[in-house]
């Protein structure tokens, strides 16, 4: 992720500017890795898996940056974008696209849906200034429920989409038959010292990180940051506060919509129905773990946060299982550790949205 290292801050300055959260979580991760090494576990494999998961979560975490910078707070309504992306993907499958074509088509439609839904969501956020976070969370839940109906009602007849009997789309759609699983993962994939690097997925994340970083150096991006930092200041400078917030939420929602396409290809399956319900919290937690606050977030916070969060989440369960010798606690351990980090990160939210 060389691109993000260019963000102008030298390493020393960056470390100084970070709150304790990244160091605590990072320290814990290193500790777990050391335990893994002592237990003689394949820790190189654990790291490579961590990187993989970080890359596919990356864009969903990146979606937090515009909304936080605009003062709407972390995008707890991530499911809005996710549902858009999922709809784009099933539509592309229905239209008969396969392989890379399917991903490009899906991502394109996802972006368009993201813009439309992000606009509506932005309008909503402007109507509820002051209580954005709670409203956003429930907007996420509501949109998921609305899409239950859409998944059941869309008249798609592709055999890979529907149930064997009855109406509606199936719960989990395998991307194998469309040759769209791990397309990006396998692009330029290579191995060093047993570390598998899924170049394509990482590259896509890096490109979007750079784009978002560049955007926040443009006039519109700077305006959004100013609106988030001090709406009255922004007004006195002749900015349209509501418009800036809407643009930020459009970008956030579109990133989530495209992000879910990347997520699904790497995962190998597209999950519908209640999949989006609990996706927002890990993404919010990751950016907070990376050093962001509910008011300020940078791309570098996303990169640090998603690696630490997903790293810990990938590493702890196997090590836990190993220590307990045999009892398969993987899922339980993952739930415990994930919610523990989320809880920790949420306590780090300073203040509320403005």
């Amino acid at each position: 992720m060389e691109e993000t290292a260019k963000s102008g801050t030298d390493i020393k300055g960056l470390i100084k500017s970070l709150p304790p959260a990244p160091f605590i979580i990072g320290g814990f991760w290193v500790l777990v890795l050391i335990v893994a090494a002592i237990l003689n576990m394949p820790w190189v494999w654990l790291i490579s898996d961590s990187l993989q998961r970080a890359a596919i979560w990356g864009m969903l975490v990146l979606a937090m940056v515009p909304s936080i910078q605009s003062g709407t707070g972390p995008n707890f309504a991530l499911p809005v974008g996710l549902c858009g992306g999922m709809l784009a993907m099933v539509t592309a499958i229905q239209l008969g696209f396969t392989g890379m074509g399917l991903l490009v088509m899906a991502a394109g439609m996802a972006a368009i849906l993201g813009i439309i839904m992000g606009y509506l969501y932005g309008v909503l956020m402007n109507a509820v200034k002051g209580s954005e976070m709670a409203i956003a969370t429930y907007t996420g839940f509501s949109i998921t429920a609305v899409f239950f109906i859409i998944w059941l009602a869309v008249p798609f007849d592709n055999p890979f989409l529907g149930w064997f009997i009855g109406e509606g789309l199936r719960n989990t759609i395998a991307l194998g038959p469309m040759a769209a699983n791990q397309v990006l993962d396998n692009f330029l994939m290579f191995e060093v010292i047993g570390l598998t690097i899924r170049t394509g997925t990482i590259l896509v994340f890096a490109v979007f990180c750079t784009l978002v970083w560049l955007f926040f150096r443009s006039k519109t991006g700077i305006a959004i940051s100013a609106v988030g930092a001090n709406p009255m200041f922004a007004r006195a400078a002749g900015l349209n506060v509501d418009r800036s917030r809407i643009i930020a939420n459009i970008i956030s929602t579109s990133l989530a919509a495209v992000g879910v396409v990347v997520y699904a290809q790497s995962f190998g399956f597209l999950q519908l129905y209640d999949f989006p319900m609990w996706m927002a919290f890990p993404a919010v937690a990751a950016v907070l773990v990376g050093g962001a606050t509910a008011q300020r977030a940078k791309v570098i916070h996303v990169v640090i946060g998603v690696i630490l969060f997903q790293g810990l989440l990938t590493t702890v369960p196997p090590v836990f299982t190993e220590i307990l010798a045999g009892a398969d606690m993987t899922d339980a351990a993952r739930m415990v550790i994930q919610n523990a980090i989320i809880l920790y990160a949420l306590t780090k939210i300073r203040g509320g949205g403005k």
């Binding site: 150096r217 006039k219 009255m232 007004r235 002749g238």
Partner: protein
């Protein structure tokens, strides 16, 4: 000779390697009003933090020397200790709960419980804190405290929506209502007050002192100190310069001692400037819905190159004019700039047409406190004219930095470098950053509101000189709104007084204080109808 009520003995304080106070000795007697003055950063706040046992002192290694009350050394480890010892503080920033009534604010955490059967049962089960309250007695106490200050406020009014000057009185009322308060610290109480309000505050202070309360009065307004104080202590760069009896000194001497260099305060020889009759800016029947600064039909004409002062008491609407023209609050009426109508409620268009704005609310509106100086300065120009962007439309850090360095040099902004966050600057330097941002737009007309509020006297002069030279040397037209009449008179070409949202009249800066005083209280027989007031006409 009366015993010293409060005494600092050899107080020193270091923050890391930075010595902020060095061997301070001050004695304050009961019934004395003792002024404590010094430029920003002279150590006044640190000294008061020590007196209040603020955590910031004890978490950074405490201090040397001792604080004595009634001759006894005391250990003040927390603000609560300070309160127990009878030290009351009125902060610069108000610590009031807007949704509570004045009485509730005055009585907060010292509420009076009712004594009745239900209460004694409840408190036996749930403890003291569950008792219901005796609002009647509380209101009476609050009334008494307000009466001591000669305030006619209703004790049952909500604090929210009170003019800022009244909030100050509520804070003071809260402190004097504490029965054991012997020492009262007022940290720049008059900074936010208009002159008449400040006057009644000063008379309240005299009254309290006569009751035997020792008052430590921190202020930048030297004439007030001369007016009301018994003795004055001057701090400079953490050292005690001198403690003097006020009757043996004067404003000029105090200002010199404080700054350590000769300054001329007050009016400079303000030779009348030649100003063309060309009207650059005209307001007709402007109404602005700014809360507590409502404008109700103002007509103004401003000539090219003029510095027009807008004065008046707080809450009369003088601040509403600039805010209304700039579109910060809903406005209606007609505004002509260089003969062309300016759209109201359209901040961007107004800025674009060459009007700059320095807001009265420096921290709330004027600055991005968590952003560096250079970005703050470039921001408005970037969003209005799209400058400071490179060919890709991305911000041009180099141009932004160069512009900032030039402004830092031109306006003498004291900072570590151009990347320092504006929140870390002193008030005067923050104000200069605000002015620098407006100047970066290269405006033809500049609105400046309360440019010296909360700014120490040295920086104050620099800012006023700067405004003067902008008008004189660059031909900029400036409309300056201020609560300090003296400062308006020192640099303006004419001063318009606003009362009850309307123009009462316009005076030349050398008009007598009596004329200004009468106008500010709305008395102006020939100008009751603001339509009749002509530019430069001296009413009465």
């Amino acid at each position: 000779m009366a015993q010293n009520l409060l005494e600092f003995r050899g107080v020193s304080k270091n923050y890391a390697d930075n010595q902020v106070l060095h061997d301070i000795n001050i004695e304050i007697k009961a019934g004395e009003i003792h002024a404590l003055i010094g430029e920003n950063g002279a150590g006044k706040s640190t000294l008061m933090n020590i007196l209040f046992g603020m955590p910031v002192i004890h978490s950074t290694g405490g201090f040397e020397g001792e604080v004595c009350i009634c001759g006894e050394p005391v250990k003040i480890m927390s603000p609560h200790d300070a309160m127990e010892m009878g030290i009351g503080m009125v902060h610069q920033e108000f610590m009031l709960i807007p949704a509570f009534t004045i009485a509730e604010n005055i009585k907060i955490n010292r509420e009076i419980p009712k004594e009745n059967a239900l209460n004694s049962t409840m408190s036996r089960i749930f403890g003291e804190r569950m008792k219901t309250l005796d609002f009647k007695t509380m209101n009476q106490d609050a009334r008494r405290a307000l009466d001591r200050l000669e305030m006619s406020l209703d004790e049952f009014a909500l604090v929210a929506g009170l003019p800022i000057g009244y909030m100050q009185f509520v804070e003071i009322a809260r402190e004097i209502d504490k029965t054991n308060t012997r020492i009262l610290v007022l940290d720049e109480p008059t900074a936010v007050l208009a002159e008449s309000e400040a006057e009644s505050l000063l008379s309240a202070m005299r009254k309290l002192a006569a009751e035997g309360i020792a008052i430590v009065f921190i202020s930048h307004r030297l004439d007030e100190i001369i007016n009301v104080c018994d003795r004055v202590t001057v701090l400079r760069d953490g050292e005690l310069v001198v403690t003097k009896d006020v009757k043996d000194t004067n404003v000029i001497e105090i200002a010199e001692l404080m700054i350590g260099r000769k300054v001329s305060i007050g009016k400079e020889d303000n030779e009348a400037r030649e100003i063309s009759d060309d009207v650059i800016f005209e307001i007709k029947d402007l109404h602005v819905a700014m809360p507590s600064e409502r404008v109700r039909g103002v007509d103004l004409k401003v000539r090219r190159g003029e510095i027009l002062g807008i004065g008046g008491l707080a809450g009369q609407g003088k601040l509403g004019i600039a805010n209304g023209v700039m579109g910060m609050y809903p406005a209606r009426g007609e505004v002509l700039f260089e003969g062309k109508p300016l759209p109201l409620n359209r901040t961007k268009q107004v800025l674009k047409s060459g009007v700059g704005f320095v807001s009265e609310d420096r921290k709330g509106i004027g600055l991005l406190l968590d952003e560096p100086i250079d970005d703050n300065i470039a921001f408005t120009e970037m969003s209005i004219h799209g400058n400071f962007l490179n060919f890709l439309g991305l911000c041009d850090s180099k141009a932004i930095r160069e512009n900032a360095l030039k402004m830092i040099k031109d306006l003498d902004i004291r900072c570590t470098n151009e990347k320092q966050h504006t929140g870390r600057l002193s008030g005067g330097n923050q104000q200069k950053v605000c002015v620098a941002r407006a100047l970066t737009q290269k405006p033809k007309l500049l609105f400046v509101s309360e440019p010296t509020r909360g700014v120490d006297i040295g920086a104050k002069k620099l800012i006023l000189d700067l405004l003067r030279s902008l008008a004189q040397d660059q031909g900029m037209t400036i409309i300056m709104t201020s609560s300090e009449l003296a400062e308006l008179c020192s640099i303006c070409d004419s001063v318009t007084i606003i009362c009850e949202g309307k123009v009462i009249g316009t005076l030349p800066p050398d008009a007598s204080p009596v004329e200004f005083g009468l106008m500010m209280s709305g008395i102006c027989t020939s100008a009751l109808d603001s339509e009749n007031v002509k530019e430069g006409e001296v009413a009465q």
